[in-house]
Symmetry: C2
Subunit: 470 residues, 2 copies
């Protein structure tokens, strides 16, 4: 039945349907239908289906298509292609699509966007390509975007919208409402208006609910709330996100160094920042570069991961040096070679647990100089308790397995040493890196592993040498 439906009818049907399943994943049917239309170069059906879809859904669709199909889709949609969809895809995909387009076409698409979306789209292009596109924009857009790009990458100035409503302090509520009713060129969606002096210095804001509930003759200065939380345009987006989160803000005005209002940051942009930062932390803790994307090529991915594996190789060789210095003992008692990795691995896992909690607590500002020693003491105690527990378990199993109670005692003692050392390293290393202003999420791993591997092998084999008089 469905197969015989003409494409346009199918486009009309799917235009009004939800493209996602209950888990929020794009339905495969949507991709199939679009691929069919692309195959037939059926621009009319495509426009019917895609033009009014939400940018997030179009972005998800682009991500699922092959690179050639992506470009064909953008081409067939022509002016109907909504550039905001490009803010919803990975950098790799975005750059691929943009590089296939003429600068004029990109400029036309960009001109319709708000500054924050335009910046997000142009940010990853190289200087030259970006300049070429900016030159083709209307003067006012060009000026706004050039100014945004003057702020450093990852700063509030790059994320803000420069569309906002500002009124002078001598206006009344009635004048503001009339202004809102009469102006055609207002932002799409706003929840507050700002009050500025003639030099654009911010005096405060009035929330729309307040405005609505006040009589017309009242002066805006009478209902204005002074800003307690403003953002400086050059501020790092992570710090801004943290402020939004802490104080449950919906938006915040952005000012330049002269305290002049230059833009507004809204929480939906901040949600993206929070998501990006969490993503970066998770990836870095897993030994992957923060910007690795699932759409990266094999070669880019392999190169990116090589570095981390190389650092790990060095730490592994360090640990091996310890093993090698005990060659005589290992040859004499091969059980030691068999069991040594258990000591290293248990210590490594305990250290990773501690490190994860420490890195996370540093990121959320829960761990600071004031409670650092309390946390260090706590971690060492936890390491000691679990060290004892695993000394008993592992020691018992090893004793029976190798029918040698002495081996149980040795591995038990080594486990206590290594779990305490691992816990100590797991919390001290991130604290030290943070003090040195190095991101502990990126750099703690290899140091911590080195500590537990070296301590694990060293304690186990030293104790064994001494106990068995090897």
């Amino acid at each position: 039945m469905v197969e015989t439906q003409p494409p346009l009818a199918r486009a009309l049907e799917w235009r009004d349907r939800d493209w996602r399943d209950d888990d929020g994943e794009l339905l495969p049917e949507v991709v199939d239908i679009v691929c069919g239309m692309l195959g037939e170069a059926d621009a009319e059906s495509l426009k019917t289906l895609v033009s009014d879809a939400h940018e997030a859904d179009v972005g998800a669709l682009l991500a699922q298509l092959d690179p050639d199909d992506r470009n064909r889709l953008v081409e067939l949609l022509g002016a109907d292609f909504d550039f905001t969809a490009l803010t919803e895809v990975d950098e790799t995909i975005r750059v691929e699509i943009l590089e296939e387009m003429e600068p004029e076409q990109v400029a036309e698409g960009i001109a319709e966007l708000e500054t924050d979306d335009a910046v997000a789209i142009l940010e990853d292009l190289d200087e030259e390509e970006r300049s070429e596109i900016l030159d083709k924009l209307p003067a006012s857009d060009r000026f706004a975007l050039r100014r945004a790009f003057d702020y450093p990458e990852g700063s509030a100035g790059r994320r803000m919208k420069d569309e906002f409503i500002a009124v002078p302090p001598f206006w009344t509520v009635g004048q503001v409402i009339d202004h809102l009713r009469e102006s055609a060129d207002l932002p799409d969606d706003f929840t507050e208006i700002f009050v500025v002096d003639p030099g654009y210095h911010l005096q405060g804001h009035v929330r729309l609910d307040r405005l609505l509930r006040t009589q017309r003759p009242v002066a805006v200065t009478d209902i204005l709330e002074e800003e307690t939380r403003t953002v400086t345009a050059s501020e790092d987006q992570e710090d801004v996100a943290f402020m939004f989160e802490r104080y449950n803000l919906l938006s915040a005005p952005v000012v330049d160094e002269g305290n002049r209002l230059v833009g507004v940051l809204t929480v939906d942009d901040i949600v993206d920042v929070i998501e990006e930062e969490a993503d970066a932390d998770i990836k870095q803790l897993g030994g992957v570069k923060a910007d690795e994307e699932i759409s990266d090529s094999v070669w880019t991915t392999a190169k990116g991961r090589f570095r981390w594996l190389f650092i790990n190789l060095i730490t592994a060789f360090l640990a091996t040096t310890v093993l090698k210095s005990f060659e005589v003992q290992l040859a004499e008692m091969v059980a030691l070679a068999v069991l040594a990795p258990i000591v290293a691995s248990q210590g490594g896992n305990a250290a990773t647990q501690t490190m994860t909690v420490a890195v996370r607590a540093l990121a959320t500002r829960e761990l600071g100089p004031r409670n650092a020693w309390r946390i260090v003491r706590r971690e060492v105690s936890v390491g000691f308790i679990n060290g004892i527990a695993f000394a008993i378990i592992t020691g018992t199993v090893a004793s029976f397995w190798f029918t040698n109670a002495n081996i149980g005692v040795v591995i038990g003692l080594a486990l206590v040493c290594n779990l305490v050392a691992g816990s100590l390293g797991g919390v001290l290393i991130p604290l030290l890196l943070d003090r040195l202003r190095v991101d502990p999420a990126i750099s703690s791993g290899p140091f911590v592993t080195t500590v537990t591997d070296v301590t694990g092998f060293l304690s186990f084999l030293t104790i064994a040498t001494w106990w068995f008089k090897l």
Copy 2:
């Protein structure tokens, strides 16, 4: 100078200052000053300093105090203690503070809050204590909270506010504005009003900016926007957060099974959910329970981590079994015992990289059935490329170190095998767990480690046995 300042003057000074440094960390001076006032039981100064502080700052203060001081602070503040500060601290601290208070006192504090904050505070108490507090609340609050607790933990119904503005469809813009001006009992902060029929079935919403810009005689139904994204109260908060993020929502109406409006979810609550979910993923990938907090006791922490270490011990023993089955070869050639951990560890790290990316892509819905095979192929290729790279590096170093080129060849071959196996396991295991509806963030680790440890030892020692005819 500062030391001689009377406490009340100091309280007045710090009341108007920012309590945080540039990094957003609470200034130690604030804690010192508060501790001083607690020591003197100087309630007046404390109230001056703390009563008007933002809940997030009071929360940060509570977190930094010792348990006894926390309770003394709450006691001295009395009715001036803002219960919303309890939503800003860890569960452990919250429960500790609440358990020290009388149910009447908690009920009084709770009664002033919005439902979402009240639910957040009472949620962690046990059934009985919660009931006791609810019984002491005014009937309307009690009813609202009981209803919220009827929804499952982690559902939208628990997170929503039940304070919202709903108007009938036959009203005009003028009537709505008059209603807003005249009603005393409106929510603190709102950005839209909802239009409902007499059965409270949701017809749509009107944004405040739209309302402001429309003439009084216009009917609300003429400017109403139909809801495209409603949330069902029983929906899981993670799915809701994902929807907010995807469609950049600021708020969404919550309906019951009968499509009746029961509440509203705002993005500031969702920011907390996103943060919590990211936190849970990071902790679980690091082998820590999702709800482990930095304020947990040593004993709770040790117990929570024991389970993960125990599972790891089993996988470590599995890998050891492989080593033990090669005891003869290890005894004959001790270099194998020295180098084996390198093979296991490089494979383990490559697998962790792949696993991190796969788990993350599953969480963000970027990895699904449609692109799974492409990603698996990509990961295996990456593993193969880095396998070759590290085979050359490690092989060369090992050859010179042990002055035996054959050992270099053997470890090189084993590394290629193990990096490919690790990459394959790192992506297939999370995919499989996800298909089985098990959270891959919690469970992938031990399986992946087992794969790389076993494959690492097995491939290295098998190749060595065959190459050296051991």
